[in-house]
Subunit: 502 residues, 2 copies
């Protein structure tokens, strides 16, 4: 028979199974062992829980079982519909209180909730607004009436417009709609990935005029750290393109200014909140750029990292993978640091796609070949067996952003997220929020909820949460002494959390 | 630093990566090798294609790339909306012509398209219909007006009713609606798994009165084989509970009668179509039954297998896993064959669920511990690393039924089907259709399309298709000599297919 298979396929695979027959009752002890071994393999499976932790763990499991029996299981529902359910969840409330370590995958343009942007930034004097032909908005702070631009002809002073319209709440809500993807009816508004990405990119452009105004930027960054700190996050690695910023009189600041502001705000914030460790920047360039532009961006990043070694930690390519250049397209630019003998760690987005076997899908392999320190999303990694092994052996953590992946329509029911496979294998992993403002989240608790309840299912336990939190420090770019400090700070918070909730 | 991690997690994982720095340009040859090695690992990756096959393979890849650029990518869309798109696909047309081997996971009650049931069976004389209070129907062939039943009070002769209504096409379409899940608007009709399963079970009950009528059953089985043969399938392993059947005069035939009919029809069919190898039965019991009832079913199956060794090949538990008994619940019944020293191979459904970590999710482990020969669906297998390894090492193939999994709402976009992970690892796998009548498919081509285009993506090639087809013989229950015959028959068909299409 074997010969026939070989003939048929021109390859030989031995067949063993039809020799055996129906087995008798499996040995319950052996069965237990098997299930235990699987449990040990998963993320956090080897974490030994204290008695107090075990108590909290049992409570979490009960709560999770209850949540699974509800009419709507939140992780199976689009986040925009599930958010209200999640907010009422006792598991979510516990996760909000839990010290979650660091947020390692957040984009600077979507760091702060849109409520703050509208209620604070747009209420400042000299804020102008302009409606574009494609139903978007632009903002600009200016001492005088701004000049018309190619995309925007008629600028109005927001203060005047708001007064004229007379319904500030309604008006402000409509402004928020321009700055976020959040909507009550995501399925009809965003029928596919193309539509949701179009709105996504529009919202970034709309926010830019507010965020790149120098005085707003300072407050924005402080506010961003505050939202994380309030969610019991203690550290941030922010992806940022370091835009140029502007003053009211039209003065333009170069990128370095934004870096200095970032440093200054972080220092002020950690002084105000000594339980917050700090924040650092991964410089991001758009994958829509050409090779020579990326080369320039890489060189600039090398220089900025030399000049700000405590703040600039590395480099990434950002933007929609399915429509941008692949890492391999950009290989000449990305090999520059090594060619120049420079230090520039990479933290590449890779595999944020549903497509299999095309050039974009190969980004996960190239990210690893370029020695990336972590993989942003790595949604495609699960079906790359070799890359998956490489990533695990080298301890290259996947930055899992469940809410983002669902909202950007990679997956609808989060129980089908491929990270379920990675978690079951104990693949190195951290949880992050990607673009909280765009998705209507704040901090990391929503993403922890989806990962813990939806992706991990009943198998994920308090050990999983603990490992995910510790991972966010372990896989951070922090130098050793700071890492030690971070662990110690986190450990203290964790013990307090446990004694408070067990 | 390591000490701190260990303190924090009470476990130790060494960290290696921060030693290395940004790599230079990856060696293109090494990169190619890596990608090649991944390609070799996938299902069919090691199949060596002839020149003619390579030509067809290149064409298939071109067609697939084109299909991926369309406004709607069929595997990402609910099958009920995608079916018309798929029917127009040149890939689908090729798959229809392709010799696909055997169908190893099909349920007898949903073997034949509902069009035949309505246009043929319900047009026979003496067919009565009754509408139930819960908007379902019952059929019954009877010489006289049937008695009212608990679920059905008023029986009408179908012929009379159809004439009275006057719109036979509209009426017949409404009958079909009762017998299939197919609908134009699946998202609103089936908002969740519970609703779709309820309709699913209703449709089975509705069809029963037709199919269990002895004269219909004979034609039904023949028609079922014909639909497979027309789709270039050459063998069938049918899951069947072997219902008792009835004659017009009320005579009831026991299960053995149905087995004999099955044997007789199969023999007649293979005489009429000598390119069709045959059909065999996996006896199925409902997981809604209690342990003692399952014990009786197992004993009965053992006896039937002794009496019909060429027809009865094994045993399975069927019905919705999420609401039925687990294999472990039924362990006393399932260990009976071994206890009695009997031969009764198992072909268990296991892991047809989205839930993780609950008792149902453990079915995949228990199926393997009970030495199952194949795993029906195995949707949950991908996140069971140990069970996955066991399954692969023992060559226990997963019976992948993509259309079924999508329609029964385990996954919406088939690119997210966990079998993508299994395929990337070359996990033993066959493709089947589960319940073609319920899903509006016929043969295996729709499921092959979804697996090849959606789950496999661009990575899946003609080698994948070839291995999947050969797998359906290799992992069948056929004894060695018949397997050899099957390979030879298939090989001849395959060569003809290739020479016709390359």
């Amino acid at each position: 028979m074997l010969a026939s298979v070989c003939r048929a396929l021109l390859t030989c695979v031995p067949l063993l199974w039809f020799a055996g027959e129906a087995a008798g009752m499996p040995d319950p002890a052996q069965r237990e062992l098997l299930m235990l071994e699987e449990a040990l393999t998963q993320t956090g499976g080897k974490v030994v829980l204290t008695a107090a932790e075990q108590k909290l763990d049992a409570r979490l499991r009960q709560l999770k079982e209850k949540e699974m029996l509800g009419a709507w299981f939140p992780p199976a529902v689009h986040f925009f519909k599930a958010r209200a359910l999640i907010q009422r969840s006792p598991i979510f409330k516990l996760l909000q209180r839990m010290p979650k370590g660091g947020a390692l995958h957040v984009h600077s343009s979507a760091l702060v909730g849109v409520e703050w942007l509208v209620k604070n930034a747009t209420y400042r004097p000299n804020c102008y607004i302009c409606f574009t032909w494609d139903n978007s908005v632009r903002f600009l702070f200016s001492q005088q009436q701004p000049f018309p631009r190619w995309d925007c002809f008629y600028w109005q002073l927001l203060e005047t417009l708001r007064a004229k319209i007379g319904d500030p709440t309604g008006f402000d809500n409509s402004l928020m709609q321009h700055l976020t993807l959040f909507t009550e009816d995501p399925d009809s508004e965003y029928p596919n990935q193309d539509v949701v990405w179009e709105k996504f990119e529009k919202a970034f452009i709309a926010a830019a005029g507010l965020i790149t105004h120098a005085p707003v930027l300072k407050d924005y960054l402080y506010r961003g750290l505050l939202e994380l700190q309030r969610d019991n996050v203690m550290y941030l690695e922010l992806r940022s393109g370091l835009s140029r910023t502007y003053e009211l009189d039209g003065t333009i600041h170069e990128k370095v200014w934004a870096l200095k502001i970032f440093q200054e705000v972080t220092q002020r914030f950690t002084k105000d909140f000594p339980d917050f460790l700090g924040a650092r920047i991964i410089i991001a360039a758009s994958r829509a750029l050409g090779v020579s532009e990326v080369k320039a961006a890489v060189k600039e990043a090398i220089q900025l990292q030399k000049d700000f070694p405590d703040i600039v930690v590395g480099f990434d390519m950002v933007g929609r993978e399915d429509s941008g250049r692949t890492l391999w397209d950009l290989r000449e630019a990305l090999s520059l640091p090594a060619d120049l003998g420079a230090m520039l760690p990479f933290f590449f987005h890779a595999g944020e796609t549903d497509d299999e076997g095309n050039d974009v899908d190969q980004n996960v392999i190239d990210a690893l070949l370029f020695n990336t320190k972590r993989i942003g999303h790595g949604y495609a990694l699960a079906h790359h067996p070799l890359a998956r092994d490489m990533s695990r052996q080298r301890n290259v953590a996947v930055e899992l952003c469940p809410v983002s992946n669902q909202v950007l329509k990679l997956v609808s029911d989060l129980r089908n997220h491929p990270a379920a496979v990675l978690m079951s294998e104990g693949h190195p992993m951290v949880i992050s929020s990607d673009d909280p403002a765009l998705f209507g989240t704040t901090g990391l608790s929503y993403d922890f909820y989806e990962a813990f309840v939806g992706i991990g299912g009943l198998k994920a336990n308090l050990g999983t949460l603990k490992e995910l939190a510790v991972n966010s420090l372990r896989f951070s770019s922090l130098p050793e002494p700071l890492k030690d400090k971070a662990y110690a700070m986190w450990q203290k918070k964790w013990e307090a959390f446990i004694s408070e909730h067990s």
